[in-house]
Assembly symmetry: C2
Homo-oligomer: 357 residues x 2
């Protein structure tokens, strides 16, 4: 018999996250490592009278085709693959890598070609023209990065995923209402005093739809509004496997005018120089998942730690009103559980990670 938590997870993905309907064709992407969840998801889709289109590969990024195909072939998706992206009714991606460093052997040219090939899929999902979800599955590679045994990591994943998402949604909606109604947000913490404007912007509540685990309220801040200083002294900022320790940004009129770090400063500055939009904020997110308490070096979890906020430099989501354009989107988490405070239009709404609303 299968671990009943796997069946609960599968029902959550199929019924809530994408809401599979009879007759739908649902692309299911995974690695073979996620077998129990893949089988449970397929069962659940079958019970809905819908079709799973299972696309398993050993590597989620990279692999023999990415290494060997001529660049012009790599850049253009196979027509039949493109059609799946264009016509599938929903997308479930189960994240279960064998090695979190996979794909790191690809040249920049090949990475760019792959990005270009998969653009039709991103267009479909980012525009929300089909329901989709990316779901974390507990594998050894993830446990290792998190500094846990697999058993601990499994417990962690299930604790952060198997929540009453209606109740979590209500709780997050209340938080979003406070920020929706406010204009100026002030973030205070260790080495940090930053204000950003959310005037005219509305938040999105991640209540178990596009991400599993979900659990954040997120905004696109007004692009020229950030003023002050933020210091990410609690956790390293991680981007494409590179770590930056003690990153510190000074903002003027929305733009980072000074960036420094205790380690990885050169990589940090180079990344901020990627393009014009890379020095502006693309996101302010508020972590709200009560099952996530520990930093894991995996931004999909870390940005949801209850009592943290995260700022992304770079591209913003248009569906939350964002206008910043960049080829990067780097989420960096700021812990407010010690010496932290959040103000909305001057009113204290969170102190040391505890809500006052």
């Amino acid at each position: 018999m299968r671990d009943p938590r796997i069946d609960e997870y599968a029902r959550l993905l199929v019924d809530r996250s994408v809401g599979v309907q009879r007759g739908w064709q649902v692309q299911v992407r995974a690695t073979p490592l996620a077998r129990p969840l893949v089988e449970a998801v397929i069962e659940q889709i079958a019970r809905c009278g819908a079709y799973p289109l299972l696309q398993m590969s050993f590597e989620l990024i990279g692999g023999p085709f990415a290494r060997e195909a001529p660049l012009d072939v790599l850049r253009t998706p196979a027509p039949l693959q493109r059609r799946i992206w264009e016509e599938a009714d929903a997308f479930i991606a189960i994240w279960a890598p064998e090695n979190s460093r996979e794909g790191s052997d690809l040249s920049e040219e090949r990475k760019a070609a792959l990005q270009q090939a998969t653009a039709p899929m991103r267009e479909r999902t980012m525009s929300m023209s089909a329901p989709w979800v990316i779901a974390e599955y507990p594998v050894l590679a993830g446990a290792q990065d998190a500094g846990m045994t697999l058993t601990e990591y499994e417990q962690f994943i299930f604790d952060s995923v198997l929540l009453d998402w209606d109740a979590q949604g209500e709780r997050m909606r209340k938080i979003a209402d406070v920020f929706d109604d406010g204009d100026e947000i002030r973030i205070v913490g260790t080495g940090t005093d930053l204000t950003v404007s959310l005037a005219g912007r509305r938040g999105a509540v991640d209540d178990g739809h596009v991400n599993m685990p979900g659990g954040e309220v997120f905004y696109s801040p007004v692009e020229d509004s950030a003023e002050g200083v933020v210091e990410f002294s609690e956790f390293p900022a991680v981007y494409y496997g590179r770590e930056v320790v003690g990153a510190r940004f000074e903002f003027e009129a929305g733009r980072i005018v000074d960036a420094s770090a205790q380690a990885g400063q050169e990589f940090l500055r180079k990344t901020l120089d990627t393009d014009e939009g890379a020095r502006r904020l693309g996101e302010l997110g508020i972590g709200c998942n009560p099952g996530i308490q520990r930093y894991m070096k995996n931004v999909a979890f870390d940005e949801k730690i209850d009592g943290t906020v995260h700022l992304a430099v770079g591209n913003s989501y248009t569906f939350t009103g964002g206008k910043n354009i960049s080829s990067i989107h780097w989420d960096i988490v700021k812990d407010l559980r010690t010496n932290g405070a959040l103000y909305v239009d001057g009113r204290l709404v969170q102190q040391n990670g505890d809500w006052r609303i």
Copy 2:
């Protein structure tokens, strides 16, 4: 580094069996157990500037969708899957089951529904409107059925697959020429004296295209011609996991008028009563693979043992001129290496498995 025999196998499948061309979309079906060959095949397809469409599943027959989907859904393929079958330029199926008994838990109703759903694929491949190959990969389940260790079984597979197929093709063509030119074939062996007519029929040579291992010359005998007795005393006849020991058929005017067996007689007779065509011959095949010497309880190999013939009761291939229609096609192998002889129009062409041509 990968076993170099795997790379040789992959080149054989991609270059010879289906002849991949630049820009092609090639469906690759496999289980994760075949990983080394799957990766080598994808590499080889990529090097041709073509696209692999990898469709891996844990089970080749059955699985959670087959068990759980409503019958009407199971019966109708997903439109996107159907398009892959209709539009892919070539098909490579790598046979690597976890368990050779998989799918045996499905009801007859579900098996029939699956057959119906996959009919568009069979129409495409059986009409030869796209190149395809089914390739055996050495897995534990196969080794176990063959009574070998995995290491022995790997050696066996590579010995039967990594042949000079041009040379094998020439050798088989010479054999086919003798039978093409002849009318009456007489098969003599232990408990056996059977004549069949191949008048007007031409043989097909399996020289490393649709099957890997290949190695047979096969015909559709004239449907009302078989006269005499055949006794399959050397090897059991195996069909869908059921074994019949010592099967014996008496033919009159092409039809089996008496069928008996030392074990499994009831199953044998029931199967022959499936439909009208089930009591007539759908195939006469001549095993020609010099790498296959041992009976393996796997008809994909056994029918190619050098020095054997096989008779199939049931449906015949139209591309070899066959007209017999049945929902069964049961290949049964007769060993001629002891007390055996083959005659074409009265001329001895093979004795005790050795060719005299």
